[in-house]
């Protein structure tokens, strides 16, 4: 019983630390929003912070670190592959920057 109580206290401490880290990372995103940098840099910095937040939440809060290695690999490889596959259209978006996207009603 004493071991269970100690284990529970250790887990509570770990969750609180991760919670504070997530709050801090969210705060960093808000700080980045007010930095005097161009949109591209801002996006990259915010995305990196968001990915770190997601990693903490998935590994600790969702207990992915405690699952079998095969499952972790399945989640990581499949998810990352599909997310990367969605990124092929960005050059098209940059091309549209001059004329505006369809239905944007943008006129120069």
């Amino acid at each position: 019983m004493a071991v269970t109580e100690q284990h529970k206290d250790n887990a509570t401490g770990k969750y609180l630390i991760v919670y504070v880290c997530l709050l801090a990372l969210a705060g960093i995103q808000f700080v980045i929003a007010y930095q005097n940098i161009d949109a591209g840099q801002m996006f990259v910095r915010m995305l990196i912070v968001a990915l770190v937040e997601a990693l903490l939440a998935v590994l600790i809060f969702m207990h992915l670190w405690a699952e079998s290695r095969g499952f972790v690999i399945f989640v990581a490889v499949f998810t990352i592959f599909v997310l990367l596959a969605m990124q092929y259209g960005w050059t098209d978006s940059f091309r549209m920057e001059r004329g505006g996207a369809p239905y944007s009603n943008y006129s120069k």
Binding site: F30, D92, S104, Y106
Partner: protein, 206 residues
């Protein structure tokens, strides 16, 4: 017992013996749903980014970050309370687990109300799905779609939390079921961590 019976029994035994990834089926189903839903939100956010980059007159209407900050704090705290609920359930503290689950649901309701209040304020300023006073009408369409989809997930999550919490308290569900519910709630929080910087913080009025 015939040879056919022996063969069938061996085959049936093999079917039930191995679980994919050594995980309960319910949990695997929730993980697969979460992965699929991640793809949905990722597609929405990539499409939003595509439109934003490709549209020079993209509006930046958010003057204050207070509402987004409060909503982020509430959702992150709800993830923590959900963790405490699951932890209590695993250690056999049924009353504690129910209490933390209901606190999580209450925080979800507060989040949803704040979100609706923000929507009403934007609608009051003249923003609709198809037009707004600041720039391209695509902004309203993408903003309401992404945040609306997330709000739907939060609302369904709150209803599910209350239902699962009550059934857990009544003895129909166990700690594993509460943990599986927790996975969904953490996913909802995770999505918000991407929505806030991409949809709110990148569109602040400077």
């Amino acid at each position: 017992m015939s040879q056919a019976d022996l063969t069938m029994q061996g085959h049936s035994a093999a079917l039930v013996a191995g679980r994919p990834f050594s995980m309960p089926t319910k949990k695997l189903a929730m993980w697969l749903f979460i992965i699929a839903d991640t793809m949905t939100f990722a597609a929405c956010l990539v499409a939003y980014g595509f439109l934003r980059v490709g549209t020079p007159d993209w509006p930046r209407p958010f003057h204050s970050i207070t509402n987004a900050a409060v909503m982020t704090f509430i959702l992150l705290t709800s993830s923590l309370t959900m963790m405490f609920g699951v932890q209590s359930a695993k250690s056999g503290d049924k009353a504690g687990a129910f209490r933390w689950t209901m606190i999580t649901a209450a925080l979800g309701i507060v989040f949803a109300l704040l979100h609706i209040r923000e929507w009403l304020a934007l609608i009051d300023e003249g923003m609709t799905l198809f037009k707004n006073p600041w720039g391209t009408g695509l902004f309203g369409a993408s903003f309401f779609s992404i945040t609306g989809l997330h709000l739907t997930h939060v609302t369904c999550g709150v209803i599910a939390l209350i239902a699962v919490g009550l059934r857990y308290k009544g003895g129909r569900y166990n700690a594993d079921d509460l943990e599986i519910m927790g996975l969904y709630w953490h996913f909802v929080d995770l999505v918000w961590m991407f929505v806030v910087p991409l949809v709110y913080l990148m569109n602040l009025t400077h």
